[in-house]
């Protein structure tokens, strides 16, 4: 008896669900542009949180979009969401892929179904004809900007503690590459230690602590994100090593978290490189162009990214660029 009742309830639920879906489809309005957004988990980092927030603010009904979101850090889950979006008849799929490989077949399906694909934040290993545009950060350029800034400090000697992100990620490769090249090219530059702290503040703290304990001298900390720079600074504070503008150790971070820019403003840190999470407005522009039948002048759009110097940063910068 109980089982019968339960199954009845379940069937009722299913029926209601179906009706709900049907209702949604019937209402499909001609004016709204239907976009499916596939992103990484917003909890991953401050960068991703800001990225997701800006997407949600841009792709609203008021701005003429009917957006659905799917989040995953796993490629296969992302691909199945892409398939679902194609079936749902989205006009556009916006994609920040978890992994660079494995996207060819689903993107071909999208093309056949007339769904336009725009990549943001990360590129993929697929033929360019499979997507309309990609809006990305140039991580290598971020590294170069930072290293050029460091060069401009004209220290007599560069003894650097290099704290890397998770090895093999685009951000790590780009930001490490520029520094590695400079250290190899200039005898005046040396790495006291080069370790990955895997974006983890505590690990960065331990790595810097071990250098301090061993008594080696250093004058630059090049951390590949803000969290790790913060961990490094905590270790310096314990050992009474001064850091910041005009002090013993130069602190460099990336990502421009708001609190990090405030540290910059207070001159406790020296440099913070931006990694722009605000692709939404670029995407909006591209979609509007495509809707008007215009041709895009370039497929790959590289966003403007700044590097902030503690001596020149303003309160407005902190407000506008802090994530």
């Amino acid at each position: 008896m109980k089982k019968k009742l339960l199954s009845l309830i379940l069937v009722a639920c299913m029926a209601v669900g179906l009706v709900g879906c049907g209702g949604g489809d019937g209402k499909k309005s001609g004016d709204l542009i239907k976009v499916g957004i596939i992103n990484n988990d917003p909890n991953e980092s401050g960068y991703r949180t800001a990225n997701d927030k800006s997407m949600k603010e841009m792709f609203t009904k008021e701005n003429g979009y009917d957006a659905s979101f799917a989040y995953s850090l796993k490629n296969d889950e992302q691909i199945s969401s892409a398939k679902k979006f194609i079936q749902d008849g989205c006009d556009y799929i916006l994609l920040s892929a978890a992994d660079t490989a494995g996207w060819d077949s689903v993107l071909k399906d999208a093309q056949n179904a007339g769904v336009k694909v725009i990549l943001f934040d990360r590129t993929i290993d697929a033929d360019e004809s499979l997507y309309e545009a990609s809006i990305v950060s140039d991580m290598a350029k971020e590294g170069e900007t930072a290293v050029n800034w460091l060069k401009g400090q004209n220290l007599s000697e560069y003894k650097i503690i290099h704290i890397q992100g998770v090895m093999g990620t685009a951000a790590q490769k780009g930001r490490s590459g520029a520094l590695d090249a400079q250290v190899a090219a200039d005898a005046n530059w040396s790495l006291v230690t080069q370790q990955t702290a895997e974006w983890n503040a505590e690990k960065a703290q331990q790595i810097v602590q071990s250098v301090i304990d061993s008594g080696e001298s250093f004058n630059v900390i090049y951390a590949e994100n803000d969290d790790m720079a913060k961990g490094a600074v905590a270790a310096l504070d314990k050992a009474n090593i001064s850091h910041g503008v005009g002090k013993d150790v130069i602190i460099m971070g990336f990502d421009c978290n708001k609190w990090a820019l405030q540290e910059l403003k207070a001159q406790n840190w020296n440099y913070d490189g931006q990694c722009n999470p605000f692709q939404a407005s670029y995407i909006d522009e591209i979609i509007k162009k495509l809707e008007n039948g215009e041709k895009l002048s370039q497929k790959v759009v590289i966003m403007d990214e700044k590097g902030f110097d503690a001596t020149t940063i303003t309160d407005e910068d902190v407000e506008n660029y802090g994530i």
Partner: protein
């Protein structure tokens, strides 16, 4: 018998590591007194770093030993639970703001609330294990998977940041006291658990449930309650660890805070010579095991071993432990020892 011998395993590992450092670079043992950036005298040196950074692991080892002994399994959700407890703490301290310099509530209030939450999550694991009889590793897999998302949800995906000097004391130094606070907290936890072991029957009951659940039930114990209690105590340990971790960096990152700490905590228990299948345990050996792991980590950092290679070194330790504790190897070893003994006498 076994209980007393047990402590020799981590002790031997510690001595090996210490000798290695002594030979390679004696300055490893140098401890200096210097000022920190606030102008107070503090101790520093690799040994202090070990005591400081190993504290969290030692505290978790206490709870993990009890869980292992009572349930014959391990809790793999402690890292995620630390994220939850830390997130709760920051939620109370920061309110809804992303970045604060004035705390919204006293730290003790935030800590107590985090304790309650962590103990509730511990109880959740405990109930699954004790009453639903799910294998501990499977039961805690639920929180292991969901915990960090729950932690993010508590703070609405924000990554709160505290810029308040007083909040850094728990993971740094209290003004005027040259010993790292995490170590003081760890010692306090050790004293509490030692007192509990001495003056209550918790230790005895836990062991008897772990050795034979059925016969302890016949003797009037309630195995389910004992298991539940062990998970709740681990929850309390988690909250203490969360306070230290969050204070160390004055902020939180849900995906990386206390990452992989569950594996280290289990390794500490194993390194302490405790049977991972439950039963008898030696708390002091587990705690020592935790510091041995930190000793290893700090040594490897000192010799600039790539930090992403650290797990490989830990794996070597695990393999050695597992091989040494296998019955076949033990038998062979004891036979070997017997053969060697008379031989020694002849030489003498």
């Amino acid at each position: 018998m076994q209980n007393k011998k047990q402590i020799f395993i981590p002790l031997a590992a510690l001595i090996v590591l210490a000798l290695f450092n002594l030979i390679m670079d004696p300055s490893f043992f140098k401890i200096t007194m210097g000022l920190n950036s606030e102008g107070y005298q503090v101790l520093s040196g690799p040994l202090i770093t070990i005591l400081d950074s190993g504290s969290e692991l030692a505290i978790l080892a206490i709870g993990m030993t009890l869980v292992t002994a009572a349930s014959g399994g391990q809790d793999i959700s402690v890292g995620a639970a630390v994220a939850i407890a830390g997130s709760v703490m920051l939620r109370v301290l920061c309110g809804t703001e992303a970045s604060v310099s004035e705390l919204k509530a006293p730290v003790i209030v935030a800590f107590l609330i985090a304790c309650v939450v962590a103990m509730l999550f511990g109880a959740f694991n405990g109930i699954l294990v004790a009453y639903f009889r799910i294998q501990p590793m499977i039961a805690t897999l639920i929180l292991f998977t969901a915990g960090r998302s729950i932690a993010a949800w508590i703070n609405n995906n924000r990554l709160p940041n505290i810029s308040n000097q007083a909040f850094t004391y728990y993971g740094g130094f209290i003004p005027g006291i040259p010993i790292p606070t995490p170590f003081i907290i760890a010692v306090a936890c050790m004293i509490v658990i030692a007192l509990v072991m001495k003056f209550t029957t918790l230790g005895l009951y836990t062991q008897s449930v772990g050795i034979n659940e059925h016969s302890s039930k016949l003797n009037g114990l309630n195995p389910a309650v004992i298991k539940l209690i062990s998970f709740v105590i681990l929850g309390l340990c988690v909250a203490v660890v969360a306070l230290i971790k969050v204070s160390r960096v004055s902020s939180i990152n849900y995906s990386v805070i206390a990452k992989d700490i569950e594996m280290d905590a289990i390794l500490a228990v194993a390194l302490g010579g405790n049977a991972l299948s439950g039963g008898k345990f030696n708390m002091a050996a587990s705690i020592l095991g935790a510091y041995v792991i930190q000793f290893l980590t700090t040594t490897l950092y000192k010799f600039k071993v790539r930090s992403d290679a650290l797990p490989a070194y830990k794996a070597v330790v695990v393999i050695l432990l597992v091989v040494l504790s296998a019955p076949i190897v033990r038998k062979k070893l004891s036979e070997l020892a017997k053969k060697l003994k008379p031989a020694k006498k002849e030489v003498a």
